[in-house]
């Protein structure tokens, strides 16, 4: 006969079950999460939209804005002036015909002889609604410029990279929502009681985080393969070459950053008992998801703010690769930020597993975090 005190499952799992059964259970849970996600239409719809979005970003610019502007030219002088530029010339008989082409949108502008004698070039440019800046620029004479401290990266490119990283992280961090929903589903249907009596609670959490993370990483990997393809198809090889080194850092930061948020999403799911209440419990997590997006987008010109953001684990995933891209960060900095992020992940996993254990079996009203914490003791 035993005199052992009954202990809560989380206390006994470590002593009796080998780690093998913990991992087996986690793997089974992860497999179920993956198979139930990939069977949902929503998963494929969003994924399809991402693929289309990436292809569009790569190809569309060259379809619409791509190529040199075309101009209709009237007279030999116009033709000569245009021939010295990269503009695409389309000689026509007279000014009326040139105007007609501009009106119909067949050409971006027309270059005609200057009859008033105002122009030093002896030609006039005819546009439709706005001044055709690119044509004017092509025809203008610019003095040579010497920069004292040339920036390696143009501000335009930096803005683009910042925006793409921030948006990308934001969109994928929202993939934690299905994770939170899956936790609530188990609570709401009460299957959690069978699960908890069968496998260690922590293997449920580990399996869920692993399953959803793998799904997201798979999507990211596929998108990362499509993106260069799309850029190449759109003749934007230069942009690709510029992005590649920053991407190399973005990926590991993204992986750790996502796991960090996933632990929070799962706790947000475990403290409520109904899908309807998920909105309120996920507010804080949503804010943490938006932090890198808004923080980095708005503060990218503020060096101090960016330095801080690149070390805060929740925004490091975006801010540090951006600083690396703009070459503001020293060599050791990404390693330090990554180490900090890794520590944050470990701490969050430990805290989350305790909160998750303490709140999973509590039903009814929303469980307070302090209550969940003490419940797990």
């Amino acid at each position: 006969m035993s005199t052992q005190t009954v202990s809560p499952p989380e206390a006994t799992e470590a002593t009796e079950t080998g780690s093998a059964s913990f991992w087996t259970a986690s793997r089974l849970v992860a497999e179920r999460e993956i198979s139930s996600q990939i069977r949902s239409k929503g998963y494929w719809i969003t994924f399809g939209m991402f693929i289309l979005g990436i292809l569009a970003m790569g190809i569309l610019p060259s379809l619409f804005g791509g190529g040199a502007p075309s101009v209709a030219t009237v007279g030999a002088e116009s033709e000569r002036v245009v021939a010295e530029t990269e503009l695409e010339a389309q000689p026509v008989a007279d000014a009326q015909e040139a105007e007609a082409l501009v009106r119909e949108g067949d050409v971006d502008a027309a270059v005609v002889p200057d009859t008033d004698g105002e122009s030093p070039l002896d030609v006039r440019v005819i546009g439709l609604e706005d001044t055709p800046e690119d044509v004017v620029a092509a025809l203008s004479v610019a003095p040579p410029v010497d920069l004292l401290e040339p920036s390696d990266v143009s501000s335009g490119a930096q803005y683009l990279v910042t925006f793409v990283f921030a948006l990308f992280f934001f969109v994928f961090a929202m993939y934690g929502m299905p994770l939170a929903q899956s936790v609530v589903t188990e609570k709401q249907t009460r299957i959690v009681e069978i699960l908890v009596s069968t496998v260690p609670i922590r293997s449920l959490l580990a399996g869920k985080i692993a399953g959803h993370s793998l799904l997201v990483f798979a999507q990211v990997a596929i998108l990362a393969m499509i993106a260069p393809l799309a850029l190449r198809m759109g003749d934007q090889g230069a942009l690709l070459a510029m992005l590649a080194p920053a991407l190399g850092w973005f990926v590991p930061f993204f992986i750790l950053g996502f796991i960090l948020l996933a632990t929070m999403w799962s706790v947000a799911g475990s403290i409520v008992s109904r899908q309807e209440d998920l909105g309120s419990s996920t507010t804080l997590v949503m804010m943490l998801v938006m932090l890198p997006y808004f923080g980095v987008t708005f503060l990218q010109d503020n060096d101090l703010a960016m330095t801080i953001l690149s070390y805060v684990p929740f925004s490091a995933a975006v801010a540090m690769p951006v600083r690396l891209f703009s070459e503001d960060a020293r060599t050791w900095e990404p390693f330090a930020a990554m180490a900090l992020l890794a520590v944050a992940v470990v701490v969050c996993v430990l805290v989350a597993s305790r909160l998750y254990s303490g709140s999973l079996l509590q039903t009814g009203t929303r469980v307070k975090l302090t209550q969940a914490w003490s419940q797990a003791e």
Binding site: M1, E16, T17, S21, T189, I194, S197, T198
Partner: protein
Amino acid sequence: MLQVRSVSRSFGTHRALDDVSFDVAPARMTGFVGANGSGKTTAMRIILGVLAADAGTVSWRGRPVTQAVRQRFGYMPEERGLYPKMKVADQIIYLGRLHGMHAAAARRNTDELLEQLALAERASDPVEQLSLGNQQRVQVAAALVHDPELLILDEPFSGLDPIAIETVLGVLRERARRGVPVLFSSHQLEVVERLCDDLVIISAGAIAASGPREELRSRFGPPRFELVVDSDAGWVRDMPGIQLVELDGERAVFDLSDGLGVSSAPSGNGDGGHLEQTVLNAAVQRGAVHRFGPVVPSLAEIFREVIS
């Protein structure tokens, strides 16, 4: 043998379980009865480790119940739960695998169970498309898929129609025959009465009585007899040492008020010299006796007696 010893549990100031001890023996079906809120579910959840006890022990085959041990238990919680969008068979296989089964074995057992529970043709439907009664059967399958060493079923029959009750009952009896201890709670006392070998009666968080059903019957049912003669039986009222419970013309039901009768084992074979024999003799002298025998108390009566 599952042994629950001195288990207590409080929720805030409410003492849900107070020094609860009972056994669930192999190859026996143990009925767990008690009013709403008397602590049945709490006790079951503690056995399954879903809830921690404040004090006391639960042991299985003489050893403390741990996660690894518990993985071989089968549990049907009071609040049923399955994944609504998952297919019936997939779901049961998944639960079987969580209990440590290999995929092939889980699939084999699932097919077998669905067959037994008359659910085979719904195997690839999502659970949410099944009627509540059928979902209940799936829940039973979920508790049995891994050939558990012990079964803990909280209200397994609630929500089942009479035919489904028979089906589920058949499946559970078969498990018990194979040597599995089965603990089940129910509000339907007549079902428990038919089904159980042993009884645990809980009242307000404390065990009011426990033991083999027949033993409890004899312990808590007062020694009661029924007599049917061919003329008015009113004379029974005047016999010394007995208490008339019911009189309806030729039929009389009486208790041996001073406890001198036989132990009211259902055989009813008391040796002479007992009060009920005196009554019988008197009846024979008065004329024909159509019926005479002990009245076996129903579980409902025992229950009332025990918790009063």
